[in-house]
């Protein structure tokens, strides 16, 4: 197949490896099935449908594919969690609730290459034995929902979907389900509740692990859009071959979404671990703005812990360890975890030295306070509390105890909630306060008196003036 040509000005970076985004920004490309088939589309479904379902799962396991939604859990292993003696229907859900601030990859797949997702989904359905699949798409993607609906109709007309997929006897339907604008619906059990028509309160795990007790209490596999697309490519090249892309344990390609203070923000599909943070920022993204210094990076969506530019990180090197700087961190799951953060959803948020870290944290806090579902106590009460503290600090009403209080409120949330939202809302505060204490202290001295104080902040400041 000839190398695709891309729209002028939107060409991939030379070091990108476009697998999932192969057709994104392609010249002459449209989301129709004709275009997709003309480019060799649905060939992998034809191949997969002739395989044993278990063999597909084995290929996915062999590929080492890790979930691209945020947690980085091995996809094949997840599929293997369906109870072996299961007699209930199995559901597959595509999590297209892409809501993590800083993340904007799935929308391009949906908008520009919906058939890649559908092909990946039908293959995955066949592998896990799901006859019904849902695409849970966030409310804010109305156009995407429409495109998917049309693509599903096209695929059904061509027998890639429906009662008898490609004459194999395997039947599979995909339904698009639109959310109503809640971040928590990206949490898989919250998503399932929402899909069932309920308030998206995440379920406790145990016992409600989706692979055993998911949608309608049946085994359910929830995968991210990007992850499901990778399945198609795993079938194309074989699990073992796929696993050679990227680095060991961190295989394949992934799409990094870079936003913030860089010259060329955008999406870049790279081999996992083959590109460092420095290369990404300076080479791919053209560096931070002129005259500015890199100050901090949130490497995996807004909930990932912030990395400070002048920090030193100890990572594994062969049998030993080595100390590296932020620019040397390879963009993979394991190193990012070793550096105390996470690769998450691939949303890389870059901040230069013009940014006030208290302002940044307040921005993040506002998001999580607004999005907490409110089901369980620590996150419900703590997320808004943290936001109120940073609000007050920015308004000039900070008091010395605020820094400690912020950290301890976050500590009282993380690890104590029903779902991972607890960590998502606590990690920013924990890391910002720990890594930039001087910036927060700045907001707690009353030297900031020039700024207008709200009545509330004034009272608080007065009340603790002596302490």
């Amino acid at each position: 197949m000839a190398a695709p040509k891309y729209i002028k000005g939107k060409e991939p970076h030379k070091r990108e490896r476009r697998l999932i985004f192969r057709n994104v920004d392609r010249e002459g490309w449209d989301p129709s099935i004709a275009t997709y088939i003309a480019d060799g589309g649905y060939k992998q479904l034809e191949k997969a449908i002739k395989m044993e379902p278990g063999a597909i799962t084995e290929e996915v396991k062999a590929s080492g594919l890790r979930g691209r939604g945020g947690a980085g859990f091995p996809t094949g292993v997840k599929w293997g969690f369906i109870p072996p003696n299961n007699t209930k229907p199995v559901y597959l859900i595509c999590n297209c609730d892409e809501s993590e601030p800083g993340t904007f990859k799935d929308r391009y797949i949906v908008h520009q290459d919906p058939h890649q997702l559908i092909e990946g989904m039908v293959i995955s359905c066949y592998a896990v034995g799901a006859k019904v699949a849902y695409i849970y798409i966030r409310e804010e993607f109305p156009e995407g929902a429409k495109i998917l609906e049309e693509a599903i109709e096209e695929a059904r007309a061509k027998k890639f979907l429906g009662e008898d997929v490609l004459g194999s006897g395997f039947g599979c339907e995909i339904y698009v389900h639109r959310g109503a604008g809640a971040y928590i619906c990206g949490e898989e059990t919250g998503l399932i509740e929402s899909l069932e028509g309920k308030r998206p309160y995440p379920r406790i795990k145990p016992p409600y692990f989706p692979a055993a007790l998911g949608l309608y209490m049946c085994p359910t596999i929830v995968n991210n859009v990007e992850s499901l697309c990778h399945v198609k490519h795993i079938i194309e090249m074989g699990g073992e071959e796929y696993s050679k892309i990227g680095t060991p344990r961190n295989t394949g390609t992934r799409i990094l979404c870079v936003s913030g203070d860089v010259n060329r923000p955008g999406y870049y599909e790279v081999e996992v671990g083959k590109v460092t943070m420095g290369e990404l920022i300076d080479d791919f993204c053209g560096g931070v703005k002129k005259g500015r210094e890199l100050k901090a990076v949130i490497p995996g969506g807004s909930s990932a812990k912030v990395l400070r530019a002048d920090e030193e990180y100890t990572v594994k090197a062969g049998d030993g360890e080595k100390t590296i700087g932020i620019r040397d961190i390879p963009m993979d799951f394991d190193t990012m975890a070793a550096c105390g953060s996470m690769a998450g959803s691939g949303g890389v948020i870059v901040m230069d030295d013009s940014r006030d870290m208290a302002w940044v944290l307040n921005n993040i806090n506002a998001f999580y306070a607004h999005e907490s579902c409110g089901q369980c106590t620590p996150c419900r009460e703590g997320s808004l509390w943290m936001k109120k503290i940073t609000d007050r600090m920015l308004a000039g009403g900070g008091v010395p105890s605020d820094v400690k209080t912020l950290g301890s409120v976050a500590d009282n949330i993380a690890g104590r909630t029903i779902c991972a939202f607890g960590e998502a809302c606590a990690w920013p505060t924990q890391s910002f306060v720990a890594k930039f204490p001087e910036e927060f202290k700045k907001h707690t001295s009353r030297k900031n008196a020039g700024k207008p104080l709200s009545g509330e902040a004034k009272l608080a400041a007065e009340g603790l003036a002596g302490s």
Binding site: I204, A369, E371, S372, G374, Q375, I418, L459
Partner: protein, 566 residues
């Protein structure tokens, strides 16, 4: 899951054995380590949302192949403690599990949750009805920090919202535990409550077109761990710590729901359900719960009355008994009948029976009181002691003799009538019929037309004003206890009946209600071997019936499915 299978669990350093499948929180309870909680309720599903029951948990690490697990000094595999706390309410125990309910991590978790729950709480205990029985207060003392770090404005939420005819909601006090939501959904199939909005602005609310009006709505007030849901009937009436609690049973129907009567200085303020898994689980209907107000009614009879010309005048008890006994004794041997009540206790019924036997009454019966059951707890039989009456009065078909009694009065064969606690004008008798009687004596709680026609009127005691026993629809013998004194000179009916017995047979009868029961147990086979003191708080099964309690059956099913603890 085999019931016999047990696992070894270490709670705060002590090893105990509990059945497999036991929830961690229940295992801790068995080890006398109470784990604080808000959302968990054994009768409801466990959403695990309050996070108050977080505890430190550990399991023995899986030994490497070929290696033996490391043992502690008690011979149990050494526990590897997990860094993350887990909820004790929804997780079940496993072999070798360790639980720490008092470790630094556990204490830190509780302190954190308490702080979170209080930052936006209005702290209005001085005007809150829940004060004194509020878990937020209690846990605050036990697990709270004691001071607040919260410098911000609190979240404002709706106050004093009428969510149903009997319930008022204060959203600012609500800890969003969802017990009420789950109760209405899971137990009474009336899914009208829910949460709206998000995060810290979450509020409990009721469906806009469907108020919380079901007949079990007040149970939500009981299970609300805080003062968010209050009873329109009880709110602002009495501080809970001033009230005396008396274990009793509801006499609104044949279910006999177990209750606690809250009273102070001779006045009843509320009735709440008392758990009994053989009768009413932990619930009762609103109708029964609120069915005590008539005891405080102005229409209560407070002294014996005797007919004097067109009206009645008060007389003292000895005179009233003398007149009643003489009037009845005149028609000894078939000239009189007794209409008793299915609302009477077994002891009262027994004394009515002996009286009828001594006087040779032509007939003894009770008035039937049929209504509708609801498939939950409410029974179609509105008499609380029909089963007792059947046994004590040897009635095959309660109420079937009333027609003959009525006919007897009309044809003049029955000249005297003793009526106990029933208004006959509501039981198929006409005023003209009763006027035919030469002598009518009746006992009542409230003034009514039958009393008005009576030659002697004896004031009685309500269900909460006396001791005694009843048998419910499933044949369970249960006890009434005295919460308050009857008003004025009114007295317990068994005493009145005992006095009447003495007056007509001239013998010295027994003097204590326990003795009445003992005598009854000798003479009525169903009560054989029983005594009043043997009945105990939860009652005893006495008579086999094929009655089932729909609500209990559903609950048992949910226990089997592992959804609830029960």
């Amino acid at each position: 899951m085999s019931e016999e299978a047990t696992v070894n669990v270490q709670v705060d350093g002590t090893w105990i054995q509990v059945p497999k499948g036991t929830r961690m929180i229940e295992a801790c309870k068995q080890a006398a380590a109470e784990v604080p909680h808000y959302c968990y309720h054994p009768k409801l599903t466990s959403p695990g949302n309050c996070r108050m029951c977080l505890v430190e948990m550990g399991m023995p690490p899986r030994p490497a192949p070929g290696e033996e697990p490391e043992l502690d000094k008690d011979g149990h595999a050494k526990i590897g403690w997990m860094p993350r706390p887990v909820i004790a309410c929804a997780n079940t125990v496993a072999e070798g599990m360790g639980i720490r309910t008092d470790s630094p991590l556990t204490r830190e978790c509780r302190e954190g949750v308490m702080e979170f729950l209080l930052i936006n709480h209005p702290l209005d205990c001085p005007i809150c009805d829940q004060a004194g029985e509020c878990t937020l207060q209690e846990y605050s003392v036990e697990h709270g920090k004691g001071e607040s770090r919260f410098l911000e404005n609190k979240v404002k939420k709706p106050k004093s919202v009428e969510i149903g005819p009997r319930i008022r909601l204060d959203d600012e006090r609500c800890v969003l535990c969802s017990r009420c939501v789950r109760f209405t959904r899971e137990v009474v199939d009336d899914d009208v409550l829910g949460f709206v909005d998000r995060g810290s602005h979450n509020v409990l609310t009721v469906h806009p077109d469907r108020p919380l009006a079901n007949n079990y709505s007040l149970n939500t007030v009981d299970i609300c761990p805080v003062g968010a849901l209050t009873s329109e009937d009880f709110r602002f009436q009495m501080r809970v710590w001033f009230m005396r609690e008396t274990e009793s049973i509801c006499t609104g129907c044949a279910r006999g729901c177990n209750t606690l009567i809250g009273s102070r200085e001779g006045k009843i303020y509320r009735q709440t359900p008392r758990e009994n898994n053989d009768v009413n689980s932990a619930w009762m209907c609103d109708e029964g719960r609120l069915g005590f107000h008539y005891l405080n009614s102005d229409a209560r009879l407070t002294e014996p009355l005797v007919k004097d010309g067109a009206g009645h005048r008060p007389i003292d008890w000895p005179e009233a008994i003398r007149r009643a006994a003489e009037g009845l004794a005149k028609y000894r041997g078939g000239g009189l009948a007794v209409v008793a009540s299915g609302r009477m206790t077994n002891e009262e019924l027994y004394l009515a029976r002996t009286l009828a036997e001594t006087l040779g009454a032509a007939a003894v019966d009770i008035v039937k009181r049929e209504g509708e059951g609801d498939g939950y707890l409410v029974h179609a039989d509105k008499n609380p002691n029909t089963a007792g009456a059947r046994a004590v009065l040897k009635l095959r078909s309660p109420g079937s003799k009333l027609k003959a009694i009525k006919k007897g009065i009309e044809d003049g064969s029955i000249k005297a009538l003793l009526v106990l606690g029933e208004n006959l004008l509501k039981a198929g008798f006409e005023e003209g019929t009763l006027k035919n009687l030469k002598f009518l004596v009746s006992s009542h709680l409230l003034a009514n037309p039958t009393a008005k026609l009576s030659h002697v009127v004896l004031p009685g005691a309500g269900f909460a004003e006396k001791r005694g026993s009843m048998v419910n629809a499933t044949g369970r013998l249960q006890r009434l206890n005295k919460a308050v004194e009857p008003p004025g000179d009114a007295r317990e009916d068994w005493e009145t009946l005992q006095d009447l017995n003495r007056a007509v047979d001239g013998l010295d009868g027994v003097g204590e209600i326990a003795d009445v029961f003992a005598e009854m147990a000798e003479r009525v086979s169903a009560f054989k071997g029983m005594s009043l003191s043997k009945i105990g708080g939860g009652g005893v099964h006495l008579i086999d019936t094929d009655e089932r309690v729909p609500l209990l059956e559903r609950e048992a099913e949910r226990v089997r499915e592992g959804l609830i603890v029960g």
